[in-house]
């Protein structure tokens, strides 16, 4: 004897409601928009009020750090012809250098003039993959799986 139709319908209903519950209870944490500096600066109002990821190059000569503090960095990143001032309150990875590529997670302030970053992944100029763009995750690069 095969399963009754009612049993089948209730099974599908249970599965569907479990899936629906998972989707509805998703806080959106971990889902982030990712944009380059010029994209953000072209319409900063469109990126305000929530956490985003910004990708750019650290402008040489702009990095300032408070002495002996645990972090507290200020610098400017650029991409295309646009620049963005950044404050980063944490420790920077070793791969962070002037002229290097970074991907910052954080929020744009109300005026759209500066970016408060909470985490950073910095790309090192790898000898293996010169042409690659930056890392999305805070891990160093390796060249094999």
């Amino acid at each position: 004897m095969a399963l009754r139709t009612n049993t089948r319908i209730s099974l599908v209903a249970v599965a569907a409601s479990a899936a629906l519950y998972l989707v509805l209870s998703d806080s959106g944490e971990g889902v982030l928009e990712y944009a380059y500096v010029d994209q953000v600066m072209a319409s900063p109002e469109g990126f305000q009020g929530r956490e985003i990821k910004v990708h750019g190059i650290v402008v040489p000569g702009t990095v300032k750090q408070r002495k002996n503090g645990a972090g507290d960095y200020r610098f400017v990143i650029e991409h295309g012809d646009k620049q963005l001032a950044v404050h980063f309150g944490d420790m920077v990875p070793d791969t962070f250098t002037e002229g290097g590529e970074v991907v910052l997670t954080g929020t744009l302030d109300a005026g759209g003039a500066s970016f408060e970053a909470t985490s950073m992944s910095a790309k090192c100029p790898s000898k293996y993959e010169e042409k690659q763009s930056a890392l999305p995750e805070p891990l160093p690069r390796r060249s094999d799986s």
Binding site: M1, A2, L3, T7, L11, A15, A18, L22, S25, D26, S27, E29, G30, V31, L32, E33, Y34, A35, Q39, K53, N68, G69, A70, G71, D90, M91, V92, P93, D94, T95, T97, C124, P125, S126, K127, Y128, E129, K131, Q132, S133, A134, L135, P136, E137, P138, L139, P140, R141, R142, S143, D144, S145
Partner: protein, 655 residues
């Protein structure tokens, strides 16, 4: 003749032999010409032999330091230990493709030799499929990514060296493990396709491939865990899994092959799910190619990416479509032959448990695949959106726990239908154990809902396994005629697949224990000078000083970090850890993090150092307490033992 020329020549011969093999098997199987089929089987062996030769040449080039070969110059240097010179073989794109070909060709040869008498009807088509796959790789290697390609202008005097992050024993064995798992999945696929082509879709083809699938599955599991262990010990961020696209790529076929290994039991017992099993074999293989595409094409951004390579992206993209259309086309054509012979009778049956397990595993696989490619798709259609670990965890944690629950439930359910009395009798013990497993951590002060659910389910599942062994051993003792150990060994040997499977489940439970512990992780970043202390969970961490040393490969800065019990600041330290940073002379801009950890009962105190100011002694440290993390590695070992028990079942299967 230079090594570079010789290598390229061997690859060219390999290409010609491979084309001939494919041609012979295609024409031979169509004409039913035994001599041609015999020839194609020899061709498969020749391809394997030539691949071994080409691989030996490239390894020799590494050992001899032939830097006129570009690949050798780019991934090794004279100062590297011999061991890492050898592992440089698969250290980057070109070599890894050759390594893939090597495994593919050797597996093809073994699989064909082992089955040519028993499954003579399938073999010509198996040869065709396997020769087709290896031809794809040979062509790619020869015309696109030749590891023997020489420097066109001048030969460098030394190489650049292997990325220091890869100079780690885990890293040396993690990729080969994954490759073994990936590549061996092509064998079940080839047999599945041969069954569809010939129309011999009874259980014979699956008997030929089940052990191969189990083999792939074990190596994928080992490879994934080794990758996690490497990340944990080498990268210094306190974790082992970040839902990085390439990690995900290894996970995808593991999910589907797990599903296959379960659902095949329903087919054997009840003749059900025959089309489904075929689909799982196709999808598992397809996912290995998708995974390779994700890794090698630069389509997804990943820490592992080999770099954007449009030619590779297009060729692998094409292969993905071809496999999908060809395989499912065949499957749909043969669907009338694959109709189920049995029917599902009750939701309280083993069959239904397996079916649920399959649905969840397939959902996991499709979800992870979707999450992995979504950022690239979103960029293509508009704004790029990235999905981080919290996204994956939100969905995967409940799915994983549902699987854990099924791991416990499955063995308690009878085939066809479980009666209510039976159910109550079977469930009482495990449910009680589950309740205890939930309450103990609660009284210890743990409050994470998922964490508690995980521990409860671990206890539940563990009890079902113990119960099964207890009952089995009691019967096997024959009223006291055999001792417990003796009876246990007899029991396992008599039904290896069943009890091996339980051992695998036990390994899974232990791994879940480790993952559950993650919800009680303590994490802290601190900037300390020598003499400073900081609290970390139940511990005190004291910076006891810095040392700078160097050897012939690198400069090292090592911190001495004392771990003390909280509130015993004047007492003897439990241990002194030596986390370090290493700057390889070849790659000074890419220092490596050398983690050190204190393994206490049930938890790790994990310390890595980031920036160091040698003048003032300021040291930035990342500190973690990772509860139960080591059970993940222990669980994997138990799982591998269980898998090995299952694999040795040939005799019983053939009966």
């Amino acid at each position: 003749m230079s090594l570079s020329t010789l290598g390229t020549l061997v690859l060219f011969i390999l290409f010609v032999v491979n084309v001939a093999t494919l041609g012979l098997s295609l024409v031979g199987s169509r004409r039913q010409d035994v001599r041609m089929i015999q020839g194609s089987i020899r061709g498969i062996d020749a391809v394997a032999g030539l691949s071994v030769f080409a691989s030996t040449l490239i390894v020799y080039a590494f050992l001899a330091g032939d830097y006129s070969i570009r690949y050798v110059a780019e991934t090794s240097d004279a100062t590297m230990p011999v061991f890492y010179k050898i592992t440089s073989f698969w250290g980057s794109l070109e070599g890894s493709l050759l390594f893939w070909l090597l495994l593919q060709a050797v597996f093809a040869s073994i699989a064909v030799r082992a089955n040519k008498r028993r499954h003579a009807d399938l073999i010509p088509h198996v040869v065709t499929i396997l020769a087709g796959i290896s031809l794809f790789f040979v062509t790619l290697i020869l015309f696109q990514s030749n590891p023997f390609a020489p420097h066109l202008l001048e030969t460098p005097v030394s190489g650049r060296g292997l990325n220091p992050l890869l100079q780690n024993p885990y890293m040396a064995i993690h990729p080969p493990c994954l490759y073994l798992g990936y590549v061996s999945l092509s064998v079940p696929y080839a047999f599945g396709m041969a069954a569809l082509i010939t129309g011999h879709v009874d259980s014979a083809w699956q008997r030929a491939v089940r052990r191969w699938t189990l083999f792939s599955w074990l190596f994928l599991a080992a490879g994934l865990t080794l990758g996690g262990l490497w990340a944990y010990e080498e990268l210094g961020w306190g974790g082992y899994w970040a839902w990085d696209p390439v990690e995900n790529a290894g996970l995808l076929p593991w999910f589907t092959s797990t599903a296959f290994l379960h659902s095949i039991m329903i087919q054997e017992r009840r003749g059900m799910m025959r089309g489904w099993n075929m689909s799982l074999v196709i999808i598992s293989f397809w996912l290995t190619i998708v995974g390779t595409f994700l890794t090698r094409s630069g389509v997804v951004q990943s820490v592992h990416a080999f770099g954007a390579n449009p030619v590779l992206a297009w060729t692998f993209g094409g292969l993905i479509v071809v496999i999908l259309v060809f395989s499912f086309g065949l499957l749909i054509w043969r669907l009338p032959l694959l109709r189920s012979r049995g029917e599902l009778e009750s939701v309280f049956s083993r069959e239904f448990g397996f079916l649920l397990n399959n649905w969840i595993l397939l959902s996991c696989s499709l979800f992870v695949l979707g999450g992995t490619v979504y950022p690239s798709i979103s960029e293509y259609v508009g704004d790029r959106v990235v999905l981080g670990a919290p996204f994956f965890e939100h969905y995967m944690v409940p799915l994983g726990l549902a699987l854990l629950a099924l791991t416990g439930l499955g063995p308690l359910l009878a085939w066809r239908k479980t009666t209510p009395e039976n159910l109550a009798q079977q469930f009482f013990g495990p449910l009680a154990a589950g309740a205890v497993g939930l309450m103990v951590p609660w009284f210890l002060g743990l409050r994470s809902a998922w964490g508690l659910a995980c521990f409860g389910l671990c206890a539940f599942t563990c009890w079902t396994i113990v119960q099964e062994f207890y009952r089995g051993i009691r019967v096997a003792r024959h009223g006291g005629r055999y001792g417990i150990v003796d009876a246990a060994i007899r029991l396992v040997l008599r039904a290896r697949r069943r009890y091996g499977g339980y051992v695998v489940h036990l390994g899974i439970v232990l791994m879940f224990l480790g993952w559950g512990g993650n919800s009680y992780k303590v994490e802290k970043k601190a900037n300390l000078r020598p003499g400073d202390t900081v609290e970390l969970g139940d511990y005190m961490i004291r910076h006891a000083g810095l040392r700078a040393t160097e050897d012939w490969q690198k400069e090292m800065i090592t911190a001495d970090v004392e771990v003390l019990r909280l509130g015993e600041a004047d007492g003897e330290p439990l241990t002194t850890l030596h986390p370090a940073r290493w700057w390889y002379f070849k790659l000074p801009e890419q220092p490596t993090t050398e983690v050190d950890r204190y393994m206490a009962v049930g938890e790790d105190v994990y310390v890595s150092i980031q920036t160091v100011d040698l003048g003032t002694g300021w040291t930035q440290m990342s500190l973690y307490v990772n509860p139960l993390v080591n059970w993940i590695w222990v669980g994997t070992m138990v799982l591998l033992v269980g898998g090995a028990i299952c694999i040795g079942t040939r005799k019983r299967v053939e009966e």
